[in-house]
């Protein structure tokens, strides 16, 4: 079975490292790379075409602009946006339009989301 390929691009650094620490030793997940500079995201996604991209949610309730840009070109990819100050993350994916749901910002919540078993949390 192929591994779930994840690109980790959220910030701040501490949260990114904690996400990496959470998913790094999961046998069914492969970390394809870590992006420290947001301006690199588009290029690295184009090169690696991951199943998942993890980014930061800078403004609550507002879909990061990069989601629209990327999901048009990579509709198979899903994006998980993490807000360091909140206990829920937003999960974006493309069907016909871009849809989203809130999942829990916990180790289990993130791993479940990556494995397609996300549990939606109420806002």
């Amino acid at each position: 079975m192929s591994k779930i390929q994840v690109l980790v691009a959220n910030h701040p650094r501490l949260m990114r490292e904690l996400v990496l620490a959470t998913i790094f030793d999961q046998p069914d997940i492969e970390v394809m790379g870590e992006i420290k500079d947001d301006s690199e995201i588009t290029r690295v996604v184009a090169e690696s075409e991951p199943d998942f991209l993890i980014i930061a949610l800078d403004q609550a309730e507002r879909r990061p602009g990069i989601c629209d840009e990327l999901l048009v070109h990579y509709p198979h990819m899903k994006i998980l946006a993490l807000a360091p100050e909140r206990n829920s993350s937003v999960f974006f994916w493309a069907v016909v339009d871009i849809r989203s749901k809130h999942v829990e910002s916990s180790e289990e919540g993130i791993l479940n989301a990556l494995r397609g078993r996300e549990q939606v949390v109420e806002q």
Binding site: R13, E17, A21, L82, S106, E107
Partner: protein
């Protein structure tokens, strides 16, 4: 580090569950650190922390809002000797200074690595302060501002000089004459002369420059 323990006892107070869980996992891998508790903020947080009796409280700046930094003082009263290390989720100078004023001995920025957080906790437990280089300057400026502030309570307490007299000392220290001081403070020259005379008597100085020197010794930035 407490005498009874050979490991640093750490309590983690963080609102974000991912931050909490992942940090606990990282700390649990360290042989010299013992996690004695981890939770989000609740009204019973002080009691929970006191019951766990940690050496270090590691908390994020989102957990306790700025207006509630009294929490740090409260928890330090409940756990004497507790060292507080804050993870600054905002890199604003104000948040950092408020944390320091409230009693935090360590501050780690959100852009720190997980390893730097661990190092910060160890350093705080060893009695060291932890301050990111980019915020050290803010701290030094803050101290300088406080130092320069007139009135100085130290000068008032030890030399008995009033606020107005301390203002005069600063101006004398800059080399101004009585006439120039009078113009600057909107006083008559005679009033300034009287103030200077009173100051000399109060502090037992033989001349005005000696008053300046005495105030400098007491910490007034003249």
């Amino acid at each position: 580090m407490s005498d009874q323990r050979d490991r640093v006892a750490v309590f983690l107070l963080a609102e974000n569950r991912l931050l909490r869980e992942a940090l606990v996992r990282i700390f649990n891998k360290k042989n010299d650190i013992e996690m004695v508790g981890a939770s989000g903020f609740t009204p019973l947080a002080v009691e929970e922390i006191a019951a766990a009796s940690p050496d270090v409280l590691l908390m994020d700046s989102f957990t306790v809002e700025l207006s509630h930094l009294e929490f740090i003082r409260e928890v330090q009263r409940a756990v004497p000797g507790l060292k507080v290390v804050m993870i600054g989720m905002e890199s604003e100078e104000q948040t950092f200074l408020q944390a320091v004023r409230a009693g935090a001995v360590g501050y780690v920025l959100k852009d720190a690595s997980a390893q730097e957080v661990v190092t910060g906790v160890r350093a705080a437990a060893n009695g060291e302060a932890v301050c990111p280089p980019q915020l050290c300057l803010s701290l030094l400026r803050y101290v300088a501002r406080q130092w320069n502030q007139v009135p100085s309570f130290q000068v008032k307490a030890s030399l008995g000089l009033t606020n107005r007299e301390q203002q005069l000392v600063l101006l004398i220290g800059r080399g101004l004459t009585n006439k120039e001081i009078a113009m600057q403070l909107n006083l008559s020259e005679q009033t300034v002369r009287n103030h200077v005379h009173h100051m000399l008597r109060k502090v037992g100085a033989s001349d005005r420059l000696q008053v300046v020197e005495l105030c400098r010794i007491q910490g007034l930035a003249v």
